[in-house]
Amino acid sequence: MANLWVSNNLQVFVSASIIETAKHNILLFPYMPQPALKMYIKTLYPIVKAMDADMFPDGGPSETDRLINPANGQGTPSSFRETQVVPAATVPQPGGGDEASVLTRILHTVNFIDVSAVEGRGLEQHEYHDKARQYSNKLNMVLASSGRGSKYRMSLPNGVTAPQIVLASQPVSLADIELITMAAKRAAAAVNDLKVEHKEDLVVPFGVP
């Protein structure tokens, strides 16, 4: 029997490999809107027909079966019985009627596995932090008792509580680098300009004969 996986937001997955397991005959498709879905069903139709053969081995109604018996004009096959029959009206629609009937037949006969029924419960923020704290405490207890504890902690000094925040923050801005570079250059030039302003001689010759 073929299986269809349907989620509650109308994603229809017709799953797995049509070639490997002829028994299951399943293909995988993503979510698509109704018109595109109909087109896919159209292309799927021969495949579905093969599934059909599996599902109805004795041969159910097929697309070529007449809706009314042309000989007596009264009887119809039992599944399509109508009271007032107009010949023109009984011409089956080119693709629509069959697709819809096949789809409804599939919907009624196959097992549904709703993959979205089970919702994963995500961790809350405080739960996450609590768990992280518990685990780190347990780890520290185990590490402290073992002889290799000190070797493990020697990688970084404990200067920062959260080194990843510091390391991930923005580096020094280019403007700052430019500022200090220019300031240093001008200061070096200014220091080179340092010169002695000669005011008075330090050594004065006296008139000593």
Partner: protein, 90 residues
């Protein structure tokens, strides 16, 4: 005779966001200090710049940025002098 240097330090100090400037020579002698920069830090700043420059002798002296909650200090060695700028946090 240090008029030019003083003027330069003054101009740099008046820029927005700067809390202090300091200029030292290669031995740590303070050539000028303004704002929050004190004379006593001149030796440390010169030493930091010298040590950082020795990390990569083939390259020109790098810019050193020391960041903390109280702001950041930018240090660069150029020739014989070392310049330090104290930036306030913003």
């Amino acid at each position: 005779m240090e008029r030019n240097l003083e003027k330069h330090l003054d101009d740099t100090f008046r820029l927005p966001g700067i809390a202090g400037v300091i200029c030292t020579d290669e031995h740590g002698l303070c050539l000028g200090a303004k704002g929050v920069a004190t004379r006593e830090t001149s030796g440390h700043i010169a030493n930091i710049a010298e040590s950082a420059a020795r990390l990569n002798p083939n390259l020109p002296p790098p810019v050193i940025a020391i960041e903390s909650e109280g702001g950041s200090i930018l240090i660069k060695k150029e020739g014989t002098i070392t310049m330090g700028i104290y930036k306030s946090p913003n």
